[in-house]
Subunit: 341 residues, 2 copies
C-alpha cells in the first residue's frame, strides 16, 4: 500500500496552509474560488483520502445510527421482518454516508445505557422496535437525551417520536380487496385477541365492512395461540358455525396455514369452494398449495422511513413536537387462493 497522503502533503504541494486545505475540502472559510479549485485539484491529483476518524472527531459526530436488536440466536423467524426493516434502514443510512450500528441490549446495559453511547459519540440517534415485550426499551429511551424514533405505535398516546404501518388502514384495504373480487361472507381468523396488530387489522376490516354493507359484517374468531394447530381448530369451528362463509381472512401466515389445513380436513376445496387470503407475505403463503393471496406490508419501507424521520429530527432545533407517522405501506399480492368470483 502506498504511503498515506495526508492533509500536510496536500498543503505542501498546493503551497497553502493545512487550515486552508481543511477549509477548502469542507467548502467553508474565506478564500478565492481560484484557491479553492486549486486545492481541490491538487488533493485529487495526489489521491488524497480524508480520514473519516479525523473528520468525525473534528465535527464531533459519529455519523452513526444505532439499531437495537434482541440478539438471541434463532430468532429470524420469530420476527421474520427484522431483516427487511434493517435492510431498509441501512439503505437510507448509506445514502447519507452514515453507518447503521447494530446494538445489543446487553452491550448497551453494560455501557450504562443509551445516554452513554450518545455522550461518547458512538451514535447520533437510535432506532428500536417498540413491541410489548420490549416496552422497557421505550421507557429507557424516553429518559435518555439520545434522539430516537420507535418503530411501532405505542398502545396509549405518548409524546415521543414513532413511525408505524397503519394496520387499521391495511384492514380496510383488505376488506375492499375481497369485496372487489366478489366475496360477501368473510370470516376473520386471528391469533389471540390481545395481539395489537391483529386487533387493529380486524378493526379496520370491520369498519370497512360496516360502511360498505350496513347490517352484514364478517365474524371474527380468535385462536387460542398464534400456532398452526390452534388456527386449524379455530377454523374448523368457524366453518361449522358459519357454513355460508365464502372467504377466510387470516391475520398472518401461520394462521393461514392452519386455516388451509382446516378447509382440507373438512373437505372444502380452496379456492373452488372457499377463498383464502392473509395479511403478510412470507414463505408459508407463497409456497402453500394453492399459493395464498396476501395483503403484504412493506417492512423495508418502514425501516427506511424511520431513518428519514430520525435524520429530520437530528437536523431540527430542540423543543419540537413529536413526529408520529402512520405509514400506508401495504399492497395486494395476488395468489391462487383468491380468484374473482
Amino acid at each position: 500500500m502506498p504511503a498515506r497522503v495526508s492533509i500536510i502533503t496536500v498543503a505542501d504541494a498546493a503551497g497553502v496552509s493545512t487550515a486552508t486545505v481543511s477549509q477548502a475540502l469542507r467548502g467553508i472559510g474565506r478564500m478565492s474560488d481560484e484557491t479553492r479549485q486549486h486545492v481541490l485539484a491538487v488533493a485529487e491529483q495526489l489521491g488524497y483520502r480524508p480520514n473519516a476518524l479525523a473528520q468525525r472527531f473534528v465535527r464531533q459526530r459519529a455519523d452513526a445510527i444505532g439499531f437495537l436488536l434482541d440478539g438471541e440466536p434463532d430468532q429470524a423467524f420469530h420476527n421474520p421482518f427484522w431483516f427487511e426493516i434493517i435492510n431498509g434502514a441501512h439503505a437510507v443510512c448509506a445514502e447519507h454516508d452514515m453507518t447503521l450500528v447494530l446494538l445489543h441490549p446487553a452491550m448497551v446495559a453494560q455501557k450504562g445505557g443509551f445516554d452513554v453511547l450518545f455522550q461518547e459519540k458512538r451514535i447520533d440517534g437510535l432506532l428500536f422496535p417498540d413491541t410489548p415485550e420490549h416496552a422497557d426499551w421505550r421507557r429507557t429511551a424516553m429518559k435518555s437525551s439520545c434522539p430516537f424514533v420507535a418503530l411501532g405505535q405505542p398502545q396509549v398516546p405518548s409524546p415521543h417520536n414513532w413511525v408505524d404501518i397503519d394496520n387499521q388502514a391495511a384492514g380496510r384495504f383488505m376488506y375492499h380487496q375481497i369485496a372487489a373480487r366478489g366475496y360477501r361472507r368473510p370470516v376473520f381468523i386471528s391469533g389471540p385477541a390481545d395481539i395489537g396488530i391483529g386487533t387493529d387489522r380486524w378493526r379496520g376490516f370491520q369498519a370497512a365492512a360496516r360502511a360498505s354493507r350496513p347490517g352484514t359484517l364478517g365474524a371474527r374468531l380468535c385462536a387460542a395461540a398464534s400456532t398452526t394447530n390452534a388456527a386449524r381448530e379455530t377454523t374448523v369451528s368457524a366453518l361449522q358455525a358459519e357454513p355460508d362463509c365464502d372467504v377466510i381472512v387470516t391475520s398472518h401466515n401461520i394462521i393461514a396455514q392452519g386455516a388451509l389445513q382446516a378447509a382440507q380436513q373438512l373437505g372444502h376445496r380452496v379456492p373452488e369452494d372457499l377463498g383464502l387470503i392473509t395479511f403478510d407475505s412470507y414463505p408459508l403463503a407463497a409456497h402453500s398449495d394453492p399459493r395464498v393471496a396476501a395483503v403484504d406490508m412493506d417492512m423495508y419501507g418502514l425501516g427506511s422511513n424511520a431513518v428519514r424521520v430520525l435524520l429530520e429530527i437530528l437536523h431540527r432545533p430542540d423543543g419540537h413536537w413529536p413526529v408520529q407517522h402512520m405509514l400506508h405501506l401495504y399492497r395486494m399480492q395476488d395468489g391462487e387462493s383468491l380468484p374473482h368470483r
Copy 2:
C-alpha cells in the same frame, strides 16, 4: 444534560497533567499505582466518559467491521439466513466493543471500493457472503488491502480467508440420522444439480450410505428449479420410479413442501407410509402438517465464528497463511414426519 466532563476537568481535579490522565485511563505510561488509582477514582467520581471519537482517532482504529449486504427490498426470504448470520456476527462484535457496520454495494462502489473504506478508517475489516451471484465481491476484496473473511467456501481452492458450514459432513450426518431411525431406502430430492450446497449435501449423504451398506444407496433426483411446483413433479416421478422408497430427504424447505404435496397427491400418508426429512429448518418445515424433521444449520454460529476469525487475523502479523475453517454447525431437529420405524 449536564456539561460534558472532559479530560481537562479530570486533570484539574486530580492535580495531574492531561497526558497522565490519558495514560492512566488507557493503562499505559510510567506512573505509580497510587497515582493511577487516584486518577481513576477522580474520573469515576466526576462521571468522566471517554470520547469514543477521540479514542478512535488517537488509536487510528475504526473499531468497526463491515458486513456487505445486497440491500435489495424483499430479499429476507431469498436468503432467509442472513438475519441469523448478521445477528451472530453482531453479538461477537458487541463482546469486543466493536461495531458491525452494514455496507451497501452501491455505497462501497461510490466510495471507490473496500480499500478506500479501509484507508479512510471506516472499517478495520470486512465480512461478506461469498455466493456465486456475488463472486465479484470476492474478487474485489482479494485485490484490496482490507483484511476480510468470506462466508462460504469458494468453488475452487483459493488463497483467501473463509469460513463455511461443512455441507458434506451435514450430508453424512443426515444419512446416519435416518439410518438410526430404521429407514433403508431413501430418495434424495434436490433442486437443480448446479446448486453447490445441495450437491455437497448429496455427496456427503451418498458417501455415508456407501460406507454403511455397500451396494445399496439412495437415488438422487434433481428438480428443474428450486420451487415447490418443480419439487412436487420431481417427487411424483421419483415415487413412481422407486415404489419401495421409505423416506424422502430434501435439500431444503421449499423442496420439502413440494415433496409433501406429492406424497399426498399419490395417496401416501406421511409419516405412516413414508418418512420425510429436510435440510434447514425454517417455517415451512415447522408449520407443515405433519411438522417436518430437519437437519438444521446454525447460521448464527457461522456469523459469530466469522467475526472471531476476522479478529484473529486483525491481531496477527502480515504474511500469514489463509484461515479456512469448515465448521460443523448442524443438529437434528425432530419432527412428526420422521418417527422411528
